[in-house]
Amino acid sequence: MNISKSKLINMYEKMVQIRLFEEEIIKLIGLGQPLGMAHLYIGEEAVAVGVCSNFLDDDYIVSTHRGHGHCIAKGVKIKYMMAELFQKKTGTNKGKGGSMHIADFTVGMLGACGIVGGGIPIATGSGLSIKLRETNQVAAAFFGDGATNQGTFHESLNMASIWKLPVLYICENNLYGMFTPASYALSVQDVSKKAEAYGIPGVTVNGMDVIDVYEVTNQAVKRARNGLGPTLIECKTYRYYEHYGSSTDSFYRTKEECEKWKQRDPIKNFRIRLINDGVLTEDKLYGIEEKVNAEIEEAVKFAEESPNPNPEDALEDLFV
């Protein structure tokens, strides 16, 4: 891999941030902290990080109901995210959005989205904006396997294709949409195959391998910045927890399946690889983990100590 050492370290750190941020959420849920509907991203970290490590601050992403990973990977500050989940005035959204609506326009994170398929046209429009403004930016839409059955997927890919928009369509195929297997709901096995229907490139990649994701995305970003249009990238991945919340009980998935995927854990394996490739020592990696741990601790403290919104704050921010 010809990725710089600092980038690799950064990627590892981001993945750990996502993992530990959500493990903290699980802990907090266990303690009875009301955080709203949190759809956990644990297991899928390689996708958000592999994709977003190709982006600059002024590139755009639009996320889904399962958005924490995308937010962190795109550079949203953890402490403001935590404060948002704690329903605090200091949250990214001043406590008005919660997990499904975290947005931070200063880092190009245009918003998580609680409507399956709802974010895809928005990302497409940000691509149109780039094209009209003639800048060198790119945009990415994240969405699940389930979302590909929504009409917006089809319409948006068509528009992006005919207008050659600099948009990456990143399908996180975690094999299920809520309780429904992709193998039931999807008429093809590989989502990437659908790219042909729009005359654009489609690639399936191992979504448990951050380097694979990074490299495929890298090609697509180059295409996009060169005015060659969109790419559909399907990342096969897996969520370790239930559709939302912190349970791991699935009536529709087997324990064996889960265990098999956990063997391929994106963080564990990337860690081993970094050591084996001599990028970082175990000690240094541990140092990163410690640093992130401290960060999370600080974020919780910040969230806890932040003021609640006043009831009447609810009447503000409807219009700007």
Binding site: G98, V116, P309
Partner: protein, 321 residues
């Protein structure tokens, strides 16, 4: 002892019974087998073939409901939440609501669209809406809004047997509410509200979850010497307009309490109706108690403030006494 079951169970029973009674009844929607609102799975597994999980394609599976209804089936289309109905409104408003009329009465559309609505605590703006106004404002749809397990079951069975499109709205906060439901079969006709509590000074008209708050408010007001009549509309289209007018004739005062954003709500429609048809009875302004005119915010402090509360209903009543 009287049998008590939850609203969820009441719906399950209604669907199960009607499916057994009529082989053209079927249920379709997302993640039905794991969806707590449906209760897990059909009560009778022999009905499984007629409980159909759909891909996440609201516009098309709602439209498919219409196609099936036109061709001999009696579909129940479940939307996970009413918020997602917005994806399918072309099918609901342009197709489903209009085809019977557009065809000069030749099309028969025995279709139920069942959608849970309302705020249930920190689900934020895209999972908390109450949208009855959109459906009530669409000619060609019947709109049902029950508040008790008894009404849920009886009205759901009526909905399934109706030959016209029915939007069946339940409230998420009522899913696990328990109440008496007899073992024996019964149906509840559309267009009949009920007086939940008799009173003389003010009429409160309400439905779904806010009805419960209205009843609590009425009890509080009683302690202050104010006698409140509480009407549960149960169905918004058709509307039991006579029940409303008769009550207002008696009390001379009206509060409409519900959970939609106030502006453009069904509360507004009912207020306008009474201001037009029952003006002569009115002794005071008509008050609407509803959600404030913003999306539902996430944080509990703000969510509580935006939603209509018992205190708001009490205050509205006192304002016009």
């Amino acid at each position: 002892m009287q049998r008590e079951i939850t609203c969820n169970q009441a719906i399950n029973e209604a669907i199960g019974e009607e499916m057994k009674r009529n082989s053209t009844v079927f249920l379709m929607g997302e993640d039905l087998y794991g969806n707590p609102t449906f209760g897990g799975k059909p009560l009778d597994l022999s009905l499984k073939k007629r409980v159909l999980n759909t891909p996440i394609s609201e516009p098309s599976f709602v439209g498919a409901g219409l196609g099936a209804a036109l061709t001999g089936m009696r579909p129940i289309v479940k939307l996970m939440f009413v918020d997602f109905s917005l994806m399918a409104l072309d099918q609901i408003i342009n197709q489903i609501a209009k085809i019977t009329y557009m065809s000069g009465g030749n099309a028969k559309v025995p279709l139920v669209i069942w959608a849970p609505e309302g705020a249930s605590g920190r689900s934020a703006a895209q999972h908390s809406q109450s949208l009855e106004g959109i459906f009530v404002g669409t000619p060609g749809l019947k709109v049902i809004t029950p508040s008790t397990p008894y009404d849920v079951k009886g009205l759901f069975k009526t909905a399934i047997r109706d030959n016209n499109p029915v939007i069946f709205l339940t409230h998420k906060r009522l899913n696990y509410l328990k109440g008496h439901v007899p073992e024996e079969e019964y149906l509840i006709p559309f267009g009949q509200g009920t007086i939940k509590r008799k009173g003389d000074d003010v009429t409160i008209v309400s439905w779904l979850y806010t009805l419960n708050k209205s009843l609590v408010a009425a009890e509080q007001l009683k302690n202050e010497g104010i006698s409140v009549e509480v009407i549960d509309l149960r169905t918004l289209v058709p509307l039991d307009s006579k029940l409303i007018l008769d009550s207002v004739k008696k009390t001379g005062r009206l509060v409409v309490a519900e959970e939609e954003a106030k502006r453009g709500s069904v509360a507004s429609e009912i207020a306008a109706f009474v201001a037009e048809e029952g003006f002569q009875y009115l002794k005071a302004p008509i008050k609407r108690v509803a959600s404030k005119n913003v999306p539902i915010p996430f944080a509990k402090t703000m969510e509580d403030f935006v939603l209509p509360q018992v205190g708001d209903i009490v205050k509205a009543v006192k304002d016009i006494i």
